[in-house]
């Protein structure tokens, strides 16, 4: 018997092994690219002056602007958008595909006809999504740790790990949301669309809140707030913020289990 197909979890991992290799290489390449830019950007004073002229909201998006600091550079180039974005696309795709993808392709009937409860299928697919996201997160951490120093980017590996963990936890939260939408709606594309919209809105909410009074009170509704507000690369991950991110993922999983248990499957 093939050891990669002993249960739904291992089979899902096997299914995504090629895609995951791609994600890992892409993440490593991204880190290498940004790291290699650093020596030429580090001493460029005009960039700093330019950033000072930008509106506050845009500066919030970038994170910090003092590129003479490696932490600041990695923070703004990798952790403010690109890193979490890659992890989120991976997690949302896996979450939406888990149930709704199989339902739309027509493979779900023969899977659920086996003596395996619906909730177990959801759970094993959830853990496969979690494992994939963590895997690419580890690659992200290792790539920054390995490719940074040759270009003068020296960072504390513990804090780097906590920042990656924050990004991974947030991505898993969105992935769990996509799993829930897929379980509820049975449509992969729709699940991705809903969760992506939520991600865009909550991202903007977090970025705009400090400078736009109308939404300033809503900032704590955004997962991005709990991801980045404590500046984990510099200060480590706030345990309370980590807990909130975990709870978001747990809520998504709970909704997925609840919705899928109660629904008719489409043919």
């Amino acid at each position: 018997m093939n050891v990669f197909t002993v249960n739904v979890f291992t089979k899902t991992m096997r299914d995504q092994r090629r895609a995951l290799t791609g994600w890992a290489l892409g993440m490593a390449a991204l880190v290498l690219l940004y790291a290699s830019f650093y020596p030429s950007i580090k001493g460029n004073e005009s960039l700093n002056e330019y950033f000072d002229t930008l509106p506050e909201a845009v500066r919030n998006m970038v994170g910090c602007i003092d590129f003479s600091s490696p932490t600041c550079y990695i923070q703004s180039e990798i952790f403010s958008i690109m890193g979490p974005l890659l992890l989120m696309i991976l997690a949302i795709g896996a979450g939406a595909r888990a149930i709704a993808g199989e339902e739309e392709t027509g493979t779900l009937d023969l899977l659920l006809a086996n003596p395996i409860a619906r909730r177990r299928v959801v759970l094993e697919k959830f853990w496969a999504m979690v494992a994939a996201t963590i895997g690419v997160g580890v690659v992200m951490w290792a790539a920054i740790a390995a490719f940074g120093p040759p270009f003068g980017l020296h960072l504390g590996l513990a804090n780097l790990g906590e920042a990656v963990l924050a990004a991974v936890l947030m991505a898993i939260g969105f992935g769990a949301g996509a799993l829930a939408m897929g379980c509820w709606l049975g449509k992969r594309g729709l699940a991705i669309a809903v969760v992506t919209s939520v991600a865009v809105v909550t991202y903007l909410l977090n970025v705009l809140a400090p400078s736009v009074d109308a939404v300033s009170s809503l900032q704590k509704l955004s997962p991005f707030y709990y991801y980045i507000d404590n500046d984990p690369l510099r200060n480590g991950l706030d345990p309370v913020h980590a807990l909130v991110l975990v709870l978001i993922a747990a809520a998504g999983l709970g909704l997925a289990l609840f919705a899928f248990e109660r629904r008719d499957l489409t043919t």
Partner: protein, 302 residues
């Protein structure tokens, strides 16, 4: 039939708002029988079957499988059922063997010696990627996964679709062997001859309602068949006009066409007095069967 029924439905109803769905389907499937669930496409066969597997939940009424609730005891029910869906997709990137191995693992393991003979009989190549298989070859994999763990109950939705006639014969033999082995078979079909060949009893469903459940023998006896007789010479119409069970008699010189309900005996004996060149018996269509139960304009079955 004293043992507990394998499947029992009571006023099973599933509404979809429009006409699709089933209404008050009540039937029992006894241990060891081959039960045919006959009806045209869209009559509600798949809907009924999917409630038995807990893929959809009834709007009203209920069902038991081995005395268990398909929803509350779904894992236990699925353990005892081999299921072939009417429409399905397989994991295209896997080989047949990997796919069957995966499903077998979910069932706690199925020995190769239970899989390989099935694959051999159905001439299914398990080494190629599923993506490159024809519809019929995917159907064979569907059959293998349903039979491989030798479940006490087989629920097969349109099992012969996509199979060539030889494979249909193989499947027919597999069903009869399953019955020999004491397994119960519940299969759906839209083709009467197929059901007549394989099944002990037949339930006929139309527009979501179970019209009747009959022994195959009784169904055959009631079935109206159109028969063409070709004689060597013209025959007199009077020789056939008063025969029992005969309808719509047409005599055109040396050709006699008529509908026969029930036994052929009278017609054959009447024909035997003349020199018969050829006899053609046309299988009744499902619509013909329905007419015999509704006493519609197709004839009066009595």
């Amino acid at each position: 039939m004293s043992a507990e029924p394998v499947i029992a439905t009571t006023d099973l109803t599933k509404s979809y708002g429009r006409s699709r769905g089933i209404v008050d389907v009540t039937m029992t499937i006894e241990p060891g029988e081959v039960f045919g669930f006959l009806g045209p496409n869209g009559a509600g066969k798949t809907t009924t079957i999917r409630t038995l597997l807990d893929f959809i939940r009834p709007t009203a009424g209920g069902a038991t499988v081995f005395g268990m609730d398909p929803h509350a005891d779904s894992v236990e029910v699925h353990r005892r059922v081999g299921y072939l869906p009417g429409e399905f997709a397989l994991y295209e990137h896997m080989t047949g063997r990997d796919y069957l191995g995966f499903l077998a693992a979910l069932r706690g393991g199925v020995a190769d010696h239970q899989i390989d003979p099935l694959a051999e009989r159905l001439q299914s190549d398990l080494t190629v990627k599923i993506a490159s298989l024809s519809h019929g070859n995917k159907q064979k994999l569907g059959l293998i996964q349903a039979f491989m763990h030798r479940p006490p109950l087989l629920i097969l939705d349109e099992p012969t679709q996509g199979l060539d006639p030889i494979m249909q014969q193989v499947f027919h033999a597999m069903v009869l062997e399953a019955r020999e082995a004491g397994q119960t078979v519940f299969l759906s079909s839209h083709a009467l001859p197929e059901v007549e060949r394989m099944c002990d009893r037949v339930g006929i469903i139309r527009e979501g309602r179970l019209i009747t459940v009959e022994d195959v023998g009784a169904l055959k006896a009631r079935a109206v068949r159109v028969v063409d007789l070709h004689f060597a010479r013209p025959v007199p119409a009077e020789a056939f006009s008063s025969l029992p069970g005969l309808h719509e008699l047409e005599v055109h010189g040396d050709v006699v066409r008529c509908s026969v309900a029930g036994p052929m005996d009278a017609l054959v004996k009447a024909a035997a007095r003349f020199e018969v060149l050829d006899v053609e018996s046309h299988e009744p269509s499902l619509e013909d069967i329905f007419l015999t139960f509704y006493g519609g304009d197709g004839g009066d079955p009595g």
